[in-house]
Every structure is written in structure tokens, then in C-alpha cells.
């Protein structure tokens, strides 16, 4: 394979990977944030304690989190086909990625919210805030920097998962590494994809931390 071919292969692979990971991160946050908030507020020390709901959500989250991604990927193939219409390609990969990421992100959102000083929540209550106002105007804005850090972690984790999806016909860099490196013994191409993955993680990690620090008003700049 010529160098220019390799470049275009890696380039299109990287784009596919970014497409899958960014889309699945965004989709999982849409569900993960409300779920994390719910876990936080229904806790017995939360602003709206509800033991049963908290327990049920906790069990679901823990169950999903304890299934290894590669197993989950295969186990939910019928569901993937139902949602995406197919089980191969980038769009099909987004489905298991989102399913795997939601509970993980929910836990991270919950832990970010736990970092918010309880005194601030108490002050908001003393000023006559309702629970929804506390969530929207106190908890989420106060936890913002920590949520950004969590987001970069989620992104890197999903990037790793997306590579695994290459085994079941998912697209992107993972598929390239497996098809060329594993099935055709082209170690060079495999290492090249790994390098691109490392670069992507590095760029997004730095970007995430930059945004987190830039928006954190607790730091004097």
C-alpha cells in the first residue's frame, strides 16, 4: 500500500471514528445528565429523597456498567438493528456506544454534582428556590467545570469502545486496525491507527481541560 493510500485510509477512518464518538457522546449526555441528576437528588441526602427510585436506578446503572462492552455490543444486536436498521457501519455502532455510555455518564454526572458544596444548596433553599430551580440554576452551573472534565473522560472511553466495535463490523479506525493489523498481519497499519487514536485522545483531553479551566470561576486568572 502506498503512503498516500494509507493516509486517505486513516483520514477517512479518523473521520468515521470522530463521527461515531462525538455523536454517541452527545446522545448519551442527553440521557446521562437527567439520569445523573435523578440519582443525585433522590439520594437520601439529596434535595428530593426517594429511596425506591434511587435504588432501582442504581441497580440498572450498575448492571449495565458491569457488562463488558464487547459482550454488550453483541447482546444488543437485535436492538441495534431495530434502531439503526442495520448492525454494521458507523451508525449501527453509535447504538451500543450510547447504551454503554449512559450509565457511565450518569455516574460521572452524579459524582460531579456531589462536589457542589451542600451549603450553597441550603442557601438556595433558604431563598425559596424550588427543586427545579436548584437543579437548573445552582447544581448544574456550579458543577460545570467538573462536568467538562467528566465529558473528556467519557469521550476517551467511548473512543476506546468504538475501536472494539470494529470486531462486529463497526466502522472507523478500530475496524481498520482489526481488518489490516489483526486479520492481514499488517502491523504497520495497526500501529498507525493506534497513533491516530492517541492523537485524537490527546487533542480532546487538552481541549476539555482547557474549557474546564477557562470556565471555572473558582480559579483566579
Amino acid at each position: 500500500m502506498e503512503f498516500s493510500q494509507l493516509l486517505s485510509l486513516l483520514g477517512s477512518g479518523a473521520l468515521e471514528t470522530l463521527y461515531m464518538v462525538i455523536l454517541s457522546t452527545a446522545c448519551s449526555y442527553l440521557v446521562g445528565i437527567p439520569l445523573g441528576v435523578l440519582l443525585f437528588i433522590t439520594d437520601k441526602k439529596g434535595i428530593c429523597p426517594c429511596r425506591i427510585l434511587n435504588w432501582i436506578l442504581g441497580v440498572i446503572v450498575n448492571l449495565t456498567r458491569s457488562i463488558p462492552f464487547i459482550i454488550l455490543l453483541i447482546a444488543i444486536l437485535p436492538f441495534t438493528r431495530l434502531v439503526a436498521g442495520t448492525t454494521i457501519g458507523t451508525n449501527a455502532t453509535v447504538v451500543p456506544l450510547v447504551v454503554a455510555a449512559i450509565p457511565f455518564i450518569a455516574r460521572m454526572v452524579e459524582s460531579s454534582l456531589k462536589e457542589v458544596d451542600y451549603g450553597v444548596i441550603e442557601a438556595a433553599q433558604a431563598m425559596g428556590s424550588g427543586n427545579f430551580q436548584i437543579i437548573w440554576k445552582v447544581l448544574l452551573p456550579e458543577a460545570r467545570p467538573s462536568l467538562f472534565v467528566g465529558c473528556t473522560i467519557a469521550f476517551a472511553t467511548l473512543l476506546g469502545y468504538s475501536a472494539m466495535a470494529g470486531f462486529t463490523g463497526g466502522g472507523g479506525l478500530g475496524a481498520i486496525a482489526i481488518n489490516y493489523g489483526y486479520y492481514r498481519y499488517k502491523a504497520g497499519i495497526m500501529w498507525a491507527t493506534v497513533l491516530v487514536l492517541v492523537l485524537i485522545v490527546q487533542v480532546f483531553q487538552e481541549l476539555g481541560m482547557f474549557i474546564a479551566n477557562k470556565t471555572d470561576k473558582r480559579i483566579r486568572n
Binding site: 450553597v120 441550603e122 433558604a126 424550588g130 445552582v138 456550579e142 460545570r144
Partner: protein, 333 residues
Amino acid sequence: MIRLEQVSKTFVQKDKQTEALKNVSLTIEDGSIFGIIGSSGAGKSTLVRCLNLLERPTEGKVYIDDTELTALGSADLRTERRKIGMVFQQFNLLAQRNALKNVCYPLEIAGVGARQAKERAKELLKMVGLEDRMYHYPAQLSGGQKQRVAIARALATEPKYLLCDEATSALDPNTTNSILELLKEINERLGVTIIVITHEMRVVEKICTHVAVLNEGEIIEEGSIQDVFLSPKTKVAQEMIYPKQKFEKQDHSGRLFRLVFGGQASSEPVLANLVLHCQIPVNILGAGTEDIGGRAYGQMLLEFPDNEELITRAKKYLDEIQVHYEEEFIDGI
């Protein structure tokens, strides 16, 4: 007027019960600065949280004016809470909002328009002396400045009452004084009734008109600040009011008297006369001056020999020159 009726609060943890408040009844008149003092663990924070129902009493009723808070639903309670501002020891400002936005917060949740809220917040920050720090974030402010923002925030919805939970305990003495001055000014200018929770006597002395002493969940002494200061009845109150030096000496063979000077007899050389005219060898165990409700008071703890004749003579002299005194029977504190 804030009224507590037989309020009790019991915390249950696992199989352990803690009685934080026991049958507390209290009336706080409008316009006063009411101090609630007690050592740590006395139940002060629980008591103040029962006033706006951040803690719901296990038993008893809480009234604000004529509304029974303990009978309200959550929506009505939220509206009622806007009449009661609160400041905290740790300020509890929103770290991700600047000073101006922090003061805007209670107005936002009360449904005041953004522009109007901003105008009001600016006025309030000007009042607390922070017009040049409006766009600073809490991390860029000193402790005293943060507490000023917190006070401005607490006053935003024009509350009738202001609860201060150890509001000066995290501040140095100078800053404490300036915050206390500010609270006094708010009381006088805006007519806001202020409830001050503290473990420091000097805070109570400096601004309060009334004081209640809380000990192990019970109010053991209550009255106007002058009355409680001139003749503290309970041991806890005495410990807080007496000059600290006294407690270093343990073995008193004589009898202890506490003299309080309200300023009226200051031209009289009291000690010299006790020695020269009454011929009593007095022993000074401790002394101090306190600023009580804007008036300077001096107090002195003296040891007289255990001799009835001498003591009768001394009492007569002190009565003549109208110096407040009382004998102390506390031993070995």
C-alpha cells in the same frame, strides 16, 4: 414577630437518637437584634434552621407574623421564605457567578425581570460598600467582602427578617466589627429584624438588643442584653460574660464579687475607697470592658476576705455610689 411554640427536634441516626432542641419557646419582636448564644453543640444551628424550616421541627410550631410555617405546603413555604433572608458562616455564594449575579439570584427565582433585578442588585451592593467589586467572582473576594455579598443577597427580596448563622465566625476581629456595624445599620435603616446565632459573647454585646442563652437544646436564660449582662443567672451565661482571667485562679479562700460599672460612677475611685475607707484588702481576679448595646461597661471580679462585717461595709459603700454588684457562688470552674 417570630414565634416558636414548644419546638423540639430529634435526629435519628441508626438506632441513636439525639435531642438537638427540647421544648424551645421563643418570641422575637420586630425591630430587635436578637442574639442566640451557646457553645458548639448547643443546638444553635438547628434552632436557626427551624426558623425558616430548613430543618422541620419534630414537634412544635413556628410562626412568622401570623402565618404558621409548620402548617404550610412546599409552594407557600417557598414564598414565605423570601421574607426571611439568611447568611451563613461559610458565605455559601455561588462560586460560578460574580457578585452581581449572586445578588440577582433570589430575584431571578422570585420572578423579577432581569434588568430590574440587576438595578436592585447594584443598589444593594452599593449599600454594602462593594460598588467597585460587582463583577468579581467569590474566589477574587476576601472573607469580609464575600459576607457583604451574602448580606446583599439575603436582603434582595426585601425580607423582614435576617437570620445570621455564625456570620462572623470565619472572619478576623476587624472584619467581624465591620460586618457587625453593617448589620446594625441594616437594622436601623431598613428596620429589618435580625437574629444572630453565635458562640462569641462579643458579637452579642456589640449589636444585640436581646439575647437568649442556649444550652444542650434548651433556652436557659433570656432577656434584654443589659439585664443578662448585669446579672447573668446561669452558670453558662456567667462563664461567657465573666473576664477570662478569673478562671486561672482556682483556690479562693475569700468571697467573690462582680462589680459592673455603667459609666455613671466613673469619677469615683471605687477600688481605692474600698481599701482606704472600708479597709478591705481587695484582690482583683479579673477585669474587662465591654461594649453593650452601644454603651461601655466595665466589669471587675474581686475577692473579699470572708468577713461578714467587712462585706456589709463594702456592700453599703457600693450601694451608696450606685455601682451594680453581685456575689458569685460559682466554685472551681
